[in-house]
Symmetry: C2
Subunit: 505 residues, 2 copies
Amino acid sequence: MLSSTLSFAKIYPKFPASLIHPEKLSLSSVATMSSNYRTKYFTQILDHFNFYPKSHQTFQQRYLINNTFWGGAKNDAPIFVYTGNEGDIEWFAQNTGFMFETAPRFKALLVFIEHRFYGKSMPYGGNKDVAYSNASTLGYLSSTQALADYATLIIDLKQNLTATECPVVVFGGSYGGMLAAWFRLKYPHVAIGALASSSPILNFDNLTSPYSFNDIVSHDFRSESENCHKVIKESWQKIEDTAKRTKGLQQLRKSFKVCRNYIDADALENWLGTAFVYTAMTDYPTPSNFLSPLPAYPVKQMCKAIDDPTTGNDTFAKLYGAANVYYNYSGTATCFDLDDDSDPHGLGGWNWQACTEMVMPTDGNSREAYFQPQSGNTKTEPLTAKWHLTLNPDAVGSLLSLGVMWDIRRVLKRFGSNIIFFNGLRDPWSGGGVLKNISKTIVAIVAKEGAHHVDLRFSTKEDPKWLQDVRKQEVKIIQGWISQYYHDLAHLSFKHPCTFQLSTF
Amino acid sequence: MLSSTLSFAKIYPKFPASLIHPEKLSLSSVATMSSNYRTKYFTQILDHFNFYPKSHQTFQQRYLINNTFWGGAKNDAPIFVYTGNEGDIEWFAQNTGFMFETAPRFKALLVFIEHRFYGKSMPYGGNKDVAYSNASTLGYLSSTQALADYATLIIDLKQNLTATECPVVVFGGSYGGMLAAWFRLKYPHVAIGALASSSPILNFDNLTSPYSFNDIVSHDFRSESENCHKVIKESWQKIEDTAKRTKGLQQLRKSFKVCRNYIDADALENWLGTAFVYTAMTDYPTPSNFLSPLPAYPVKQMCKAIDDPTTGNDTFAKLYGAANVYYNYSGTATCFDLDDDSDPHGLGGWNWQACTEMVMPTDGNSREAYFQPQSGNTKTEPLTAKWHLTLNPDAVGSLLSLGVMWDIRRVLKRFGSNIIFFNGLRDPWSGGGVLKNISKTIVAIVAKEGAHHVDLRFSTKEDPKWLQDVRKQEVKIIQGWISQYYHDLAHLSFKHPCTFQLSTF
């Protein structure tokens, strides 16, 4: 078992983008995709909430735009906007085929906006080293500022396109889904509705059990086979016992084909645990290439490797087989690097967010879970270690401005409208999601068999019926929002009279 | 007529607090009031939207609290909060008798929170000179930060009182009413509803005609007598003609009992214009002491002075009589100071807000209006003059974060709930108010005979029936919000399950 290690804290809170390794992904689809949009840059305000001269600093925010299907401003045709999350926006566009595939039906303009401090949208002259250098520069990295970015960019874009009456619908998955939902709640005059896919919007404070995340990981494997679950659960003790024996580490290195000289039990357990967590998250019904190239139903494939009778009682061979599904589905790797501490994709940014605003407790371990409780404070340690900040827990409260994360059912029952919360219950994050309808127009779509924002992915011919149905349902709801918007546009005297009528006295 | 003068720009945009002279008011009622609450201070965060260390600066925010009528936390009794506007919070408490008078019925706790940078709630160690010194310190003076202050204070107070389930209703008049409405829209999880009295929430951008404000002023006087209107309208030319003649200024000084040596036509016109504008704004049906001690129906009294047959054709005597109603109702003044440029109440703060966020065009003058179009840019001149800032018009956009000021009817028709917009149509600000119901729960109460947030004032035995009815209607609606809240509290499973249920799979 993972003994009092903080190694998992490194990837806490485990949003997918924290683990992307695009260099390992097939880039052919990215190349194909890039012909599907133009890349543009918008001069964005660094600080939306202060008026002092410093706040007039700007940065170049990247966005992708596709007008192939757009019905045009004259027809008030819709604009679909992806509210980018913690990573390269091209990567999110590539994994949000739903927008491309539904655009023709809606005659929608497509816009994907990159989140500040990620990808190429780096403040401080695009200098990432400066932007990430300290708490003063990273102070401008917050979801509140990001939402204001999106509002500013959308309004400006609509003005430039003379498209001020075109309805905007926002889309997002994971953290991007949270942003989409918050955007609808905070900027109802900018977006008429939001599709928030796999957004663990309740995974804050004590609204969601900290055990739910790891319990769902276990549940996913256990649902495939009781033996698979048992082997994984008992493996940690075996690894630790072996590591303690003479030449034990040598044995482990050999069993798991570890490349580097350095190895210890913690690093190995972390490497295996990562594979289990992210495979559970991306347990898609078709082959995918999101975090890592994977076969269809990868959890099933992992358990198949573990349950393989040819490996008999050799737990390490079984675990190695499972790890291969995640780390080496393409079959090209000859050895594995357990200690990949490089940060090629700017995860420093997410670590900052995870310690300031996006404090999402997911590290609880019940008896069901594969991992043991960790010592230390995973919330604040990275912060104190990296930025020498002592965080005031009460100041973790830009959350406050995000509005409705407390008593969401009661508050949104009587407030707000037009949000779809999609969750797949095989996704460990679904425990922090909205799983029941809140009102007539704030609705939950739940897919028992679904994983992390599977609905947003490009469709395939092999998609199961439940997934097709989910997407149909989403399209129908969005169609309803847009129809209603056009109705209101035509029938409501929504504009305040511009000339004051004395006769009204 | 006011010829190409910027003198009116000095008091632009004419919110009441810009003109208060408490030293001229009877202070007996303030003394009485102060026994009605305890004064407390809350350690408030200076910058709610950044996480860098500087943002951990705090300041002492004043609030007043009265628990005489409170039903207590155990009974989930309501909390009524006044969202303070641009001035001393005691002054607003004194003029918001409605909260004191309805508290017993609702068993409500009363809280009046002072707006940052006003009264005693001064950042930078309470040092107003520092706080107001430059654009860098004033950068933290914004409505967005103020709203976050209110949310932070309310949540903290509720926790301290173990009153987390107590419903909060926010109240405000004028700018405070705008804050109350925005608060409900931005922090729906903190306040269940808002009474926004005389809040010109549409007086932005080009949503409201810039002519409406001055047209209503004219209309108020004209509604009393056509002659009154005519005398005022023609008086400016007479003043200017006289001023140009030999010894003309001397004559004017004598006619208007001007104390100081200095006098010119502009200053005199500004002095008179101020009286007309603020008397229209506070044209209450009973004697009042809000901006200045005034009789009941002061517009009528001014016109009575102007129409007085004993002054014959002496226009200046007529105008002097009218000015006396506003400036000298107590009858103690022996001469008047036209050039009172002192700033005893920190109007610098409001000037800053009026130039950055609260840019509310009210300076249009139609043929009906008493004043002529002004040269210069009243929006940005004070800013460039005082703070040497060239404002980026697009950056006047923390407004953006305030949400729904554009297409308010269309947006709020399908979003949000529980807001009362009260407007009295004799109030020049009512042109920028919400005058029609937006939805079933976002409603407009309009009183043809009402002036600036008259509904919030202490009741008197002389209150006309329409005013009694307005207050009854407001109480009934607020009662409905609270009843519904208790119903939801009892019946909705609003809390997200804290223990994850594997059985839900």
